[in-house]
């Protein structure tokens, strides 16, 4: 039997939640859909493919204070940032939830990142299955699915008279206490992505094409902005700087990206990735080679945001196919 929460029921449940917690949900801002704290259920956009920016920002804000430090009794007192606020993210897509779970790899491996760990602890994810995957979506090829419950606390799937509710974790269970659900024998349709990408074996393939001129040719077109990294649910690089004011020092972390000129510049001015080809290759090697080597999964969840947002159509799906072809040619040549 499937448990159903009616549309009215959902609204009053969310209204209740936002009384005592911060409710972050998709919200329409001009022509964009952005995750944003909402004060009322009326602000929430329910009809959307996916948000323009990923929900990683709830865990890895574009600007964050890591700690403050000030002199005290001939010593320095360091006060690490503490996160008190309980947050519920409503409307997160399965691909994005998977992205956040993947980032537990780099951020929770010891020494764990304190602010990431605290936010993960304080946040509950209410997922929303994709009933109509968008043309740029390819999560099914990257090990996910439009209705994958694996990385959320509760998964909702829209049905005719409301939402089918799947309680996935204890955290989710707590959130649903006192919520009345109807039982139903409705059949859930299983959608699939329209695009498939040959991702299997890409780790081996990309290793073979590391030195291929392919990357510098591709980089001809790339304008090296940071859009792909900033819209991506699994890009997690940052810059750090200390600011002082009134005798206190604040350590700030902000989003940064391997596409920036100077991202890898070191003291003395040398930059090991000074050319555009090396920078572009880094993006794909990180996702398709280094991340799986270090943490297991491929560092791309198939949300397709970079595909739509790139101003010059650098398309990761096309690149994975190209790498597979080139890798196979290299393989044949060496036999």
């Amino acid at each position: 039997m499937i448990k159903i929460l009616g549309k009215r029921g959902l609204e009053s449940w969310l209204s209740g939640l936002l009384q005592e917690r911060t409710l972050v949900a998709p919200k329409r801002v001009n022509d964009l859909i952005l995750f944003s704290p909402v004060q009322s259920v009326d602000e929430i956009a329910f009809d959307f493919e996916n948000t323009n920016l990923s929900p990683k920002e709830s865990f890895f804000p574009r600007t964050d204070t890591l700690f403050t430090a000030e002199p005290k009794n001939d010593d320095i007192e360091i006060t690490p940032a503490t996160i008190e606020q309980e947050v519920v993210i409503f409307g997160i897509r399965p691909c994005d939830a998977r992205g956040i779970a993947e980032l537990d790899g780099p951020y929770l491996t010891e020494p764990a990142d304190s602010v990431w760990a605290q936010r993960r602890d304080k946040t509950t994810l209410i997922g929303l299955s994709c009933t109509k995957p968008a043309p740029q979506c390819f999560c099914s090829s990257m090990g996910g699915a439009p209705n994958d419950p694996s990385h959320v606390d509760i998964l909702l799937t829209e049905v005719d008279d409301g939402y089918a509710v799947e309680t996935v974790t204890k955290k989710g269970e707590r959130l649903l206490q006192a919520v009345e659900l109807k039982e139903s024998d409705v059949k859930l349709s299983v959608p699939s992505c329209s695009t498939t990408v040959p991702a299997e074996g890409v780790v081996e393939a990309i290793r073979k094409v590391f030195d291929d001129p392919y990357w510098s040719r591709l980089a001809d077109r790339c304008i090296h902005c940071n859009i792909c990294a900033y819209v991506c649910p699994t890009c997690y690089c940052f810059d750090i700087r200390d600011y002082s004011a009134k005798g206190k020092i604040e350590r700030i972390r902000t989003w940064e990206s391997c596409q920036s000129k100077g991202f890898t510049r070191i003291a003395g001015g040398y930059d090991p990735r000074a050319n555009k080809g090396a920078r572009l290759r880094q993006r794909f090697c990180h996702k398709l080679l280094y991340f799986p080597e270090q943490f297991g999964p491929i560092g791309c969840v198939g949300c397709g945001r970079c595909v739509v947002s790139c101003p010059v159509n650098i398309d990761i799906r096309e690149i994975i196919s190209d790498i597979q072809k080139l890798g196979a040619e290299v393989g044949q040549g060496s036999n």
Binding site: Q136, V307, N313
Partner: protein
Amino acid sequence: MEANFTQQIRDKAEELLEKGIVECVIGYEIGSDSFSARPVFIYEPAEAERLVFDNTCTHNLVKYLLDKKGKPTAVVVKGCDSRAINLLLSEKQLERDKIFVIGVVCPGVVEWGWNKRSEQLQNRCNLCRQHTPVVFDFLIGEPVTEEPPAEFADIAEMETKSPEERDTFWREQAERCLRCYACRQACPGCYCIDCFVEQLDPEWVGIKIAPEENLMWNAIRAYHLAGRCISCNECERVCPVDIPLSLLNRKLEQRVLDLFDFQSGMSEDTPAPLITFKKDDNVGIGE
């Protein structure tokens, strides 16, 4: 029109590469959604057949010439884009004899995004005063002889708002800014080796991606383009969070037109007024 323009571009590109006049032709090809254009770099004559021209060819390809300095390169330009060539020539960033300009008389490009295409012309194309390229070595299409006068209805509308309303409006816009610098990266007029925003000593703008810093970034960038912006609107097109940057750029364009009767990029011999110093300029100091 389109099939014919496409064929002429392909023929010219093939000829230029075959004769060794250029090493590379920068033009447009069909992108991964199977119908909208993206930039392409053609190095072999046989590859020239990838080139296309249609009403999605919105990118200003002149920016890419800065990556090809010193190498003979051909580029496909629309009227607006061609002004960027003059801008860069006047600022000594390009060598005229190293570039071959394939100019296209542009009927305008439509609003589109990846896998989305409207039949509506982009607003900047409705206001276009430069359908025919101002610089070219080979022209495709019939030159348009009469261009409309400059029009700034969007700016006039903005100016009906009170300073407080405008302040609120721009703060809201700046709040969305991600500091991804796509505006700068797409802009043919932004070519500083070290952009002010990344300088550390002095630190002109802090690294926080936050409203105050974002406002500062967008305002200074706009000022650096005053009288230099050639209105290709690439900055606004590429912005992932839809900041209406054209309102800043067009306001400055209007002021420069009023004050100096100057339109950037119309000739390679006239540098922008704000980067020109004349001994007899009345700068209002010590009067």
